[in-house]
């Protein structure tokens, strides 16, 4: 496949395959291009983008954006460093591209539930985030709908029941799991169709804990919206807060001081280490190897406590602020961090060695839950899951933000795509994050930690690499207040990957496959 050079507006015309006037193309602050298209052009453009290896990274709507239609639908296409946003103005109907980009399916259903936009030609028109109990015609993201609970139906007939894919055949039976689980975990429903122990089909149903995050953000002052961004998913607090701040800063053209970016990056990398460590511990718990699991749990807890010493919060909340960080971290504290991390690195290596030299663990991990490389683009799979399946995308490398252009992480992708590959990729990323933090602390400049520039109206897209993969955040500020806050976490993309990863595996291996993908329920269900 030829990679059409993508530079400036000429490249875009060639890419889209039709002529388009310059005034419909705008270049965003982070070198992304937005192109205003009508429905017909949109389908043609989507076909061409699919041919040119673009993936659909997000699709979302905003009300009263352009004045040309009631809703504007943004489709964010991505290929390595290139980001192209197609904007359509629609009233109540739009064309579906789920046939071209399977990842569009959830986004379009999300838009339909939120705004009541009908997607014509969609192959899946079931509800997504609104469960059966919500009344017909209720679309909470419309501006006219107040932010409070609607009348919830206590009972509903069988005609409203969510239709799961039905798999028939001799010996096939259904195993429903969840949304209430035996352990203290988040709610999600898994509908397995199995033949004996072997999983034939899995359908995941999420959105049992919808908190109305996007609606909650609307009308707030941008600074007051930070706690909302941090609450999207607990263990991605720093990543989501940073993405939100980046979007606001780009929209308002606020320049973030150098020291602030160093501090932010240290926190971002610490968060990555914590997340990967809990994953690795969880994977070992799920194959019943507590000896290894406990080592990682202990190390994770120590990092979390160190984070609390650095920032006053175990999840490092309240530290990221629009324009920089809220409080400086003294150089003594930072050198203490390096001392701790040196010791940590030794102990982590020992733990890793024990695990990787236990044959029974390797036997459980290897060839389990394979995510095939051919799925990466259609489903827009991201993060360590993609990097363990032969993908080499990492926002920090492809589109470096902050100071990642000077501190490029070494990504070491593997191509097996199994649980072992994901475990190993996470291990090498922990090592790399440790290196990064040491270099950052050594090089950190002095100076201001927060810009005093004011927030201005506008809109911007921010893309960031959270521990789980690419997180995307789009913010529109209108009259000094948040008009629309859209966040799409890596989990939203990767949940669909698990439906494919488990096929042909046995039920008893599902927990470890699930854990190895580290999917956040909260991050999916806003």
């Amino acid at each position: 496949m030829t990679q059409t050079p993508y530079d400036g507006t000429c490249g875009i015309r060639e890419l889209l395959g039709f002529t388009i006037t310059d005034d419909r193309i705008t270049r965003g602050p982070a070198h992304e291009y937005s192109v205003r298209v009508d429905e017909q052009e949109y389908v043609q453009a989507a076909e061409n983008l699919a041919l040119h290896d673009f993936a659909l990274a997000a699709l979302f709507a905003c009300e009263e954006f352009s004045g040309r239609g009631r809703y504007s639908i943004f489709s964010v296409f991505e290929r390595k460093q290139d980001i192209l946003i197609l904007v359509r103005d629609v009233d109540g109907h739009a064309v579906s591209i789920a046939g071209l980009f399977p990842s569009a399916c959830w986004y379009e259903r999300e838009c339909r539930d939120g705004f009541g936009i009908t997607f014509d030609g969609a192959f899946d028109t079931r509800r997504l985030l609104l469960h059966e109990c919500y009344p017909d015609g209720y679309h909470p993201l419309k501006k006219e709908v107040p932010n409070r609970s609607p009348e919830i139906a206590g009972d509903w007939g069988p005609e409203r029941e969510y239709p799961f894919r039905v798999v028939n055949g001799e010996g096939v039976y259904q195993v429903p799991v969840g949304p209430v689980h035996a352990g203290i975990i988040e709610p999600g429903h898994f509908r397995f169709s199995v033949i004996g122990e072997t999983i034939f089909n899995l359908e995941v149903r999420m959105f049992y804990k919808h908190r109305g995050i996007e609606k909650l953000a609307e009308g707030r002052l941008p600074a007051d919206c930070l706690p909302v961004a941090e609450a999207v998913s607990g263990d991605e607090s720093v990543a989501n807060a940073t993405a939100f701040c980046m979007a606001v800063e780009q929209a308002s053209q606020i320049a973030v001081p150098g020291r602030a970016w160093y501090l932010r990056t240290i926190l971002l990398e610490l968060e990555r280490i914590v997340s990967h460590l809990s994953d690795q511990a969880g994977m070992l718990v799920d194959v019943a190897f507590p000896l290894g699991a406990n080592q990682f749990s202990v190390l994770r807890e120590e990092i979390v406590r160190t984070s609390a010493r650095l920032t006053g919060s175990r999840f490092m909340r309240g530290r990221i602020r629009i324009g920089g960080v809220s409080e400086d971290i003294s150089s003594d504290t930072l050198s203490g961090l390096v001392v701790f991390l040196t010791e940590f690195r030794k102990r982590y290596r020992v733990g890793l060695k024990i695990v990787l030299s236990t044959p029974s663990v390797i036997d459980r991990f290897a060839t389990t839950g394979i995510v095939r490389k051919s799925l990466l683009r259609p489903l827009n799979i991201t993060g360590p899951v993609a990097r363990a399946s032969g993908g080499n995308s990492d926002v920090r490398v492809n589109r470096p933000y902050g100071i990642y252009d000077q501190y490029t992480p070494r990504i070491q992708p593997l191509s097996d795509g199994d649980v072992l590959a994901r475990f190993t990729v996470k291990a090498s990323e922990i090592m790399d994050s440790l290196d990064l933090i040491e270099r950052l602390v050594a090089d950190i400049p002095g100076g201001e930690t927060c810009s005093s520039d004011a927030v201005r109206d506008g809109h911007a897209l921010a893309v960031i690499e959270s521990p789980r993969g690419q997180n995307l955040c789009w913010v529109r500020i209108r009259d000094g207040r948040i008009d629309r806050y859209k966040v799409r976490t890596a989990s939203f993309c990767n949940w669909l990957a698990i439906e494919h990863a488990v096929q042909g595996n046995i039920l008893a291996d599902f927990p470890v496959i699930n854990k190895s993908m580290n999917l956040s329920y909260a991050g999916t269900d806003l």
Binding site: V177, L284, A288, L291, S360, R364, I506, P511
Partner: protein
Amino acid sequence: MAPDFVLYIIFNTLFVLAAAPLWISVIKKVKAWTQGRQGPSVFQTYYMVAKLLRKEVVYSSTSSRITRFTPLVTMAAILTAALFVPLIFVPEPAGGIGNIILFLYLLALARFFMALAGLDAGSTFGGMGSSREMSISAIIEPTTIIVFAALAFVFRTTNIFDMFARSAATGTITTPILILIGISLFIILIVETSRIPVDNPETHLELTMIHEGMILEQSGRNLALMELAAAVKLTVLMALLINLIVPFGLATTLTATGLLIAAVLFVVKGTILAGIIGLFESSMAKMRFFQLPSLFAMAFFFSALIIIIEVFA
């Protein structure tokens, strides 16, 4: 029935009930230590059983009488099986008690009712646990028979009482056969009591459960009975291993001091064996479900080897 035998029934049953919860906790304690944790008290299982006995019993609305009497049947079958394995005192065998085939089928009876109860409550996980348990038992049963046949060949009897009496009289047998029997019995013990690498007794992770899946819908005193029955089963299988391999101290005549020494020695030996089980469990992850037969095949192989040695050597 001889008065000795009546006394034996009382002593053995009381002792097994009293001691059984201890080993469960000892295994947990050892596992906790290997992980650098403090772990629960060694009396935790006693507290848990005591707590459960006071709790209300809740039945699923789809359950039938099977769920209601399974705990009793299981406990009765396991306690009867416990009579077949003298823990501290070996009397003269009476009736069919001590027959290894009957012993095996008492365990199978308990297993059968547990699997039925797993299906009965109508929950997914119960059914899954039952299906897995039955798959495993279909594979482990021939292996167990071969292991017990090997024992019968070595001790020239099919009665556990006679086996114990012989091993107590001759002391520890010091032949390579001992090692082979030990390994085979240990594997049977691990499989029958649903421990790592076959099952994980500590998880309620729905999709991987076997034994815990079957008893998931049990509550209150019924759950207490099931938990206690599992502990007794573990103790009985441990006793089989201990009294065949390291029988010293086993009382063959009924004296107070003899019984006391035997009881103390049994607790010591049991604690050591529970420690070994804990270390064994810590050293590996659970096996893939479909690879379990390779573990059973090991026990099968060693036992078949014993029979060949006994027949031709």
